[in-house]
């Protein structure tokens, strides 16, 4: 079998890693083992918002096969995060979302670790939760991260203003105003998170994991454990799907902490349910759009307010709401624009990277607006798009002049015959 079918350019190249995958030899982190490894399980909060009044760990510590039971007191620097270190390795006192890890149990077998984890008692004072980002962004709402994010739950606001919207409205002959909302999504990559962590013969901490971001993982592990970068090595094993969901820390620091503490190899493997608790989600966005156009079908103005639910931790929220804001007009040239995008902390599962990175959600709003405008104008949805798309020389809402190749018109014309009966509806 040849590795390249056809010429070098335009030929089909066989994936180097596909060999091991069709043979069942590719090693995902759950597939690797070390002699003498123990198993760790995280005890996670069932409550979305709570204060921890106390922990009762005696029964768990006495349970069969238990090697160590660790808490926030065992974490030298208890925070991690891609932009802000606002997410605890193990919660000390303030639970901010369901699934926050509180206690880490290590035992000789997976069954013993799970049994001992079941004997950990956490005394929670359950607090009212902030689940609606519109409520959470109000001034009187209690701040979820006063130390790191200050008195407001708004972790990010990006205004994108262009031209003069008053002028745009004066020119508009047709207006469409609507509210749109997208839902929270999980990447549901097929391989649940797993980690093997151990101290090697040089005394270095080695963490084998399926990750999108090995160098970042190394930094966060080293920081949390109070180690130097050169004491930590992260080895990326086969990654069983990620789609953005493996950019943040999930089990890496917990497994590393247990290995460093016990000086034994430590395996952690999420069940599917634990996987849902331990990685980010796609941001649900609420989008209020108001768009104006002339009778001739030219867009004159657009105003949008986009509120993204960041959940309990910032993760990539600022970058994602930035993308949402700069893509808010879609591929349409609009002379007068006012967009305000916000990322707001709540007690929902934290949200972060997922395919499209914030550019995917506004599509629902701006394309629906185009369809509704077409209906108002008695034009076909295709025609109203053709009259407003970016072309070479167009200026985006952020002031970027598209000087290079812009294929929108060519693309629209190419797909027209596939659209079937396109009418103004």
């Amino acid at each position: 079998m040849n590795d390249v079918i056809g010429g070098t350019v335009g030929g089909r190249v066989l994936r180097e890693d596909a060999w091991g995958k069709v043979l069942g030899q590719a090693a995902f982190p759950a597939d690797v083992r070390r002699e003498g490894q123990i198993y760790a399980v995280a005890v996670r909060s069932p409550h979305a918002h709570a204060r921890i009044r106390g922990l009762r760990l005696d029964e768990a510590r006495k349970a069969e096969g238990v090697v160590a039971v660790l808490t926030s007191a065992d974490v030298p620097h208890n925070g991690h995060g891609v932009l802000y270190r606002d997410q605890p390795v193990l919660v000390a006192d303030h639970v901010r979302m369901a699934g926050d890890p509180v206690v880490l149990v290590g035992a000789e077998t997976p069954a013993q670790a799970r049994a001992a984890a079941g004997r950990v008692e956490v005394d929670y004072e359950v607090l009212p939760g902030l689940f609606d980002p519109e409520e959470a962004m109000k001034e009187e709402a209690p701040a979820l991260h006063p130390e790191i994010h200050g008195g407001s739950n708004i972790v990010y606001h990006l205004p994108v203003y262009k031209g003069d919207t008053a002028k745009g409205w004066a020119e508009a002959e047709v207006t469409v105003e609507r509210d749109y909302q997208t839902q929270m999504l999980d990447h549901a990559f097929l391989q649940p998170e797993a980690v093997l962590a151990y101290v090697d013969e040089r005394g270095h901490l080695v963490v084998e994991v399926a990750t999108q971001y090995a160098h970042y993982d190394r930094g966060e592990i080293a920081h949390a454990l109070g180690l130097k970068f050169n004491q930590v090595r992260v080895r990326t094993r086969s990654v069983g799907g990620a789609f953005g969901g493996r950019e943040d820390i999930s089990l890496q620091i917990m497994a590393a902490l247990m290995a460093w503490h016990t000086q034994r190899p430590v395996k952690m493997e999420n069940t599917r349910e634990e996987s849902f608790y331990s990685h980010s989600k796609r941001h649900p966005m609420r989008m209020h759009y108001k768009t104006g156009a002339t009778r001739a079908g030219k867009l004159t103005v657009m105003e949008a307010r986009i509120v993204g639910d960041a959940g309990a931790y910032a993760s990539w929220s600022p970058n994602i709401l930035r993308k949402a804001a700069i893509h808010a007009t879609g591929p349409y040239e609009i002379p007068h624009v006012r967009v305000d995008a916000y990322a707001v902390l709540t007690n929902n599962p934290y949200t972060g990277a997922m395919r499209g990175f914030g550019a995917a959600q506004p599509v629902l709003a701006y394309e629906s607006q185009m369809d509704l405008l077409a209906r108002e104008l008695g034009l076909s949805p295709w025609e109203v798009r053709l009259r407003n798309i970016y072309r070479a020389g167009s200026e985006t809402a952020t002031g970027q002049v598209l000087s290079g190749s812009v294929g929108m018109e060519e693309c629209l014309k190419a797909v027209k015959s596939y659209l079937g009966e396109v009418s103004g509806r």
């Binding site: 995958k21 069709v22 597939d31 799907g241």
Partner: protein, 154 residues
Amino acid sequence: MKIELKVNGVDRRLEVEPEERLLDILRERLHLTGTKEGCGEGECGACTVIMDGKTVNSCMVLAGQADGHAVTTIEGLGKRGSLHPVQKAFLEEGAVQCGFCTPGMVLSAKALLDRNPHPGKEEIAVAMSGNLCRCTGYDRILKAVERAAGEVEQ
């Protein structure tokens, strides 16, 4: 409890716990880690193996229920240099991305072609419907099975 089973043509005698699953003994005792656990509830098909010619989710089969049966895992198919036609077709069609579903997909396809060497598109789709993939969108996988059927025919 003691069980006896044939795994990839080799007779195995094992002392297992009553709550252990076929998946656990394959992975943890026999170190055949090509069989993956994706959900643990028979939904995703990543743990698919062939038992007496039929595909099963090995997370839904207790080790005791495999007593006396013959099991084929991905390790029991081809090797480098002598790939099974399904493995070769997956490779050539670009049907592999992250690879976590691949062993289960390959075994579902093999079981189909063993009982029906000339499946239609519909039969292929039905036979593969118990295996979830989150990367590919399935198109290349279905094409690979068609391609493998063509090669089996020759």
